[in-house]
Symmetry: none
Subunit: 197 residues, 4 copies
Amino acid sequence: MSRPTKEARKVSIMTQALHLFSREGFYATTMPLIARGIGMSVGNLYNYFPSKESLAKELILYIAELLGDEIRAINESPLSTRDKIDAIVAMYFRIAQEQPQTIEYFLRVYLSNREVFRNGCEGMLCVSPFVTELMIFFEEGVRAQELRNQDFFSAFGLFMGYLGGMVFLQGENILPHGLDEYRASISENIYHALKTH
Amino acid sequence: MSRPTKEARKVSIMTQALHLFSREGFYATTMPLIARGIGMSVGNLYNYFPSKESLAKELILYIAELLGDEIRAINESPLSTRDKIDAIVAMYFRIAQEQPQTIEYFLRVYLSNREVFRNGCEGMLCVSPFVTELMIFFEEGVRAQELRNQDFFSAFGLFMGYLGGMVFLQGENILPHGLDEYRASISENIYHALKTH
Amino acid sequence: MSRPTKEARKVSIMTQALHLFSREGFYATTMPLIARGIGMSVGNLYNYFPSKESLAKELILYIAELLGDEIRAINESPLSTRDKIDAIVAMYFRIAQEQPQTIEYFLRVYLSNREVFRNGCEGMLCVSPFVTELMIFFEEGVRAQELRNQDFFSAFGLFMGYLGGMVFLQGENILPHGLDEYRASISENIYHALKTH
Amino acid sequence: MSRPTKEARKVSIMTQALHLFSREGFYATTMPLIARGIGMSVGNLYNYFPSKESLAKELILYIAELLGDEIRAINESPLSTRDKIDAIVAMYFRIAQEQPQTIEYFLRVYLSNREVFRNGCEGMLCVSPFVTELMIFFEEGVRAQELRNQDFFSAFGLFMGYLGGMVFLQGENILPHGLDEYRASISENIYHALKTH
DNA sequence: GATGAATGAGCTTTCATTCAT
DNA sequence: AATGAATGAAAGCTCATTCAT
């Protein structure tokens, strides 16, 4: 049986770290815990990532690119702005369901432990692939006169805060229904919030 | 000079802990640090709170009550639902500015370190005073036919996610303008999102 | 039985550290080793010294003062320069015999691990009490016309290198006789090296 | 292009190790660091030297032979004892300047980390080529009635301690002048110390 | 001979918590 | 109630050495 490649090992570390970080938090997740989870020695972990922080930073970059790619695909589709909102909400919830660690990591590790990302991820540096695409979405909606022209961050906060909030509530088992059943009303709310009168 | 009462001592511990937790995070704040900040010994801290976690839990309860009281006052006022939205947004931003620890604690300690609150604050247990008042606000708006009748959590996620997101962005120095300049557009967005057509 | 005072504890840590550092070297001496040697927990060590390095620095300061005091006493005595040389050699060897750790620490920890002392002990900062007294000795000898007037460091290197070298050789069990039997010849050699012709 | 011989590989390892050990110290120099510096794998290093310690021991042997050869050449020259002292001092300082690693290794690795050389280099075992030549120098000086007849180690300690001390002071940037400017006075001091009256 | 991923013991340091006073 | 010295488990990280390839 051939040994897994170096790249495969790196992926398995990142997968395990994503899992633990998102569930237990950055500080409660220890390097020995990550190592044990994939049957690797602690020392060897450091052959792949020079520090716990660097591991966390690679993860957020990976996630931002993943989300950025998803939104880009939607931006490039021929949908109306109204339907793009639908598509973004659906995409976000689909990821939250299929690979919940991804969104949880974003919410509970990246947004919460800013000191960890201070060096190397200043401002939106590590999430720019994703923010950029949302900005494009918004500006195209404005140009198409489907959305009101307002400060981007007012729209951005609405989008991300709202979606993040819903996923958070679901993660806490607070929602009486599944995420999917909220999709329509959330899209509608966002659309009404942003659309031209 | 009379010795401070037990209750006063407890308040001063909580004030100091709130300050440190919100600024440094739960894990980077040590018990000796809290004690030193108020000229008390570590040992004595444990006469008031049986553990670091219990201190964190009492804090979120306190904050939930504070925010709950603020919203109750708005609920009990004779304003229209539209103006109540304005008032809630203004109140939230005012607190974020006047006592930023409060909102920061909510966003960066309570929402972020779920593992800390796992036992004892399941679901919305520790924030119910505040959630309850928002629920009342929403139901009255529906009854007055100013707001569409939808699942409460869809509205709740919008409200809290949006406001929390904006305060977060400001905390990261990402917003091009001050929070106050977003007040009007945010209220408007929320109102359009939730109002009857 | 009353507990030892904080100062006494600190002395016992320093004593034990001096012992181990001088015998095993700075790096081969671990904090757990120091702690175990005096029946104290590792954690508590850090209530007395903020780091292993700071412990090493306090030790060299202590030693430099001890040696400085000894030489000062000789400087202040009414002896001739010739006899002062005798006295300094005798004193150095006496300390090397009675508390060998002291001299060994100077030779094998302070002089050898300069990187440890880089911050806070630059140049001769941490050994100045001792160097200063030797400088006084030398200058008084020159003024009394018993010693040739030459660059101080040429004399200093002779003195310290020679004495240190002999103690080193003894520590390695290389000397065929005890240190004391070299005292006369060493004093004589030093005197002849430095005296006016 | 022919592959380097086994011997050539060994020399390149030793050169690199000497360089790093003398500059960074024994403990701060890691085996991977040595390997990387010469484009060799860690594993292969162990085909040439069974351990880090053995590498350090081979180095001191090499240096002792190098210094021994230098002194032998001086011993075999027709100079007077007085001039041989001059020549030895000059040689030592020349090496300290041309290949400082050599002397630094002797002072800061061999003399300083005795625990490393405890097994295998007891006493003068690993530096005997060099000590032997100095012994010959001294005995010939005595026989020629230029030097007083005293215990060899008293003279040895003077020579090595003094020269080592001066190089050390220079390494610490403590000397107000360059080493060369001390050459004459040092030779003179040594000669006066040892010569017949 | 050569590679370098892998090991695992051990390092310095931290900190919630306890308890004798 | 109050103190703060003491504990000890555990953290992040390092590195000499091994061994399958």
